[in-house]
């Protein structure tokens, strides 16, 4: 069995609201798979269906080859879940959080004690083992939540917005831990609205918008398919009328505060724009990113 997750025409409704409107997804063993999209795109609803907590409204779903509707507990025994909001037991110690969670999977107390030691080290929290959870920093709590999700040695790890709200240093530390897991052969599914996170972590991803999949591929494939190699960003005085620069680039996106010129060679384009007498307040040449892919596909930015 090479696909750990197979979804066909999967839908999820909450009353009359259609959170997921028929998506097809396959997640292969050993890969890091991403759901990229803005808040409300249906990522979390999809994740909750895959984690066998929430039932599907329609379509087909197989996780680890089984039907979540009938074999939820059996599937969940082999999953690790990192929820969007930490739900640690803040009045217990760091170590107790890990041990108790192990018990939920039916592990012996002895095994839970051993596992806790190992996971404390993985989460770089060994010196905090006997502290209460409440005073820990956001990054530490997040690492503990991830460590907790590994207590049952899951084949498939689901991470819902793993680094939302963390500072850059904490994010990099976390990414480093996730890389290690990937190298150990754990299959990862990640939702995020950070394009850099998706680019860093995901082998393959789908871009979601409004409950549907807008595109699918590896980060570089998506960038090649939907964007140019480089992007020239021009910033103008607030309120100033933005010049029409369509003829200098393959495509121009007009954002409230700047223009994005999609082009093969950003520096050359900038020069031509200058020669034309256009004087932006600020200019920046950069590589295309998934943000540009998203903008192209939906006409909106990911994080507003």
């Amino acid at each position: 069995m090479d696909n750990l997750v197979e979804a066909k025409a999967l839908t999820k409704h909450f009353g009359s609201f259609e959170a997921v409107r028929g998506i097809d997804v396959e997640v292969r063993r050993g890969e890091a798979f991403g759901f990229l999209g803005p808040n409300g795109a249906g990522k979390s609803s999809t994740m909750r269906m895959i984690s066998c907590v929430s039932g599907r409204t329609g379509g087909e779903l197989k996780v680890l080859g089984m039907d979540p509707g009938t074999e939820g507990p059996k599937i969940r025994a082999r999953l690790g879940v990192v929820p969007q909001l930490d739900n640690l037991d803040t009045e217990l110690t760091v170590r107790q959080n890990l041990q108790i969670y192990g018990r939920y999977f039916g592990m012996s107390r002895q095994k839970c004690r051993e596992k806790a030691v190992e996971l404390l080290e993985f989460a770089q929290l060994s010196d905090r083992g006997d502290h209460e959870v409440e005073p820990l920093s956001g990054g530490m709590k997040r690492r503990l939540t991830i460590a907790r999700s590994l207590v049952n040695d899951p084949e498939l790890l689901l991470l819902d917005e793993p680094t939302t709200g963390l500072d850059p240093q904490a994010r990099h530390l976390l990414w480093d831990r996730l890389f290690r897991l990937k190298q150990d052969g754990v299959t990862l599914i990640i939702t995020t609205h950070y394009m850099d996170e998706a680019e860093q972590l995901c082998d393959r991803l789908v871009v979601m918008d409004g409950g549907r999949i807008a595109a699918e591929g590896s980060p570089s494939e998506l960038i090649n398919r939907y964007s140019t190699r480089e992007v020239l960003e021009l910033r103008f005085q607030p309120g100033a009328e933005k010049p029409d620069l369509e003829r200098f680039a393959e495509r121009v996106e007009v954002l409230p505060d700047r223009l994005l010129l999609y082009t093969k060679d950003g520096e050359a384009t900038l020069q031509r724009v200058h020669e034309h007498g256009v004087q932006p307040v600020q200019s920046l040449v950069r590589r295309s990113s998934l943000e540009d892919v998203f903008l192209r596909l939906t006409g909106r930015t990911l994080v507003d």
């Binding site: 907590v53 929430s54 507990p73 969940r76 037991d89 009045e91 217990l92 969670y101 039916g106 049952n152």
Partner: protein, 257 residues
């Protein structure tokens, strides 16, 4: 079997928490009976003339078995409101549990087990304190322990189910004021229900506290007939059953989304 095992793990979690925090609750569960028995039994009771209506026994002894039940019902109310809501909304421990093989129904069972164990503990402490203060009329008061636990659960189970439907705690204060308070004062613990206006009595019959008090007092003074006793137990058991059935439904609705 699997369900019992899974529910036990949930129970263990709260037990781990309790081992760290038991001092705070122990003080209240020990102090409550002492204060009540001192103030109402010994203090107020010293001014009360025993009558045939209360069986001619000293007021302190009349009060004690009923207070075991009332205390359990009070404890049940607190355990079934804020802690339940917190585990859905603030601590989110229930949410964390259902990401594991544990099901929403098993989460409910583990919570019910926990509350039951707390009620049992409180009742044991209360009867112990009552015996030490000379408030126990006889060994029959030992039966007040399981009776109070059952009566507490009979109120707890439906309340836990109700708490699982709430998004904010405002309703809890109304339950404390308009349900718990009258149920404490007017269900026969402090004076016989026959002193109440007739129209109120059927309402009293609905409360788990009244059934518990009838059972506990009857067992203590050996005045219990089999048939009424059976009726009380069946009624309390039915409340527990209905409460758990509703709880399973609401826990599932809340957690499996």
């Amino acid at each position: 079997m699997e369900t019992l095992r899974a529910s036990w793990f949930g129970f263990e979690k709260t037990w781990t928490w309790y081992r760290r925090n038991w001092r705070a609750t122990a003080v209240s569960s020990f102090l409550t009976p002492v204060l009540f028995l001192l103030a109402l039994g010994l203090g107020f009771g010293s001014q009360v003339q025993s009558t045939a209506l209360i069986g001619g026994v000293p007021y302190l002894q009349y009060l004690a078995p009923a207070l075991v039940v009332v205390t359990a019902v009070q404890g049940a109310t607190f355990e079934s409101t804020f802690p339940v809501m917190s585990q859905f909304m603030w601590q989110k421990s229930f949410v964390a549990m259902v990401a594991t093989p544990i099901t929403p129904a098993q989460v409910l069972y583990s919570q019910t087990m926990w509350i039951g164990s707390q009620l049992l503990l409180r009742s044991v402490v209360f009867v112990g304190v009552a015996a030490a203060l000379g408030a126990a009329a006889g060994p029959g008061i030992l039966l007040a322990i399981p009776v109070a636990t059952l009566a507490g659960l009979a109120f707890s189970a439906p309340l836990v189910a109700y708490s699982a439907t709430l998004d904010k705690p405002d309703a809890f204060n109304n339950i404390f004021r308009f349900v718990l308070m009258p149920m404490t004062l007017f269900t026969g613990a402090f004076f016989p229900v026959s002193q109440l206006p007739d129209w109120l009595v059927p309402l009293v019959w609905l409360t788990p506290a009244w059934h518990g008090i009838e059972l506990a007092r009857g067992a203590t003074f050996g005045t219990l007939d089999l048939l009424p006793a059976l009726g009380h137990v069946v009624y309390l058991g039915a409340l527990v059953g209905v409460g758990i059935a509703l709880g399973v439904k609401f826990f599932h609705r809340r957690l499996a989304v």
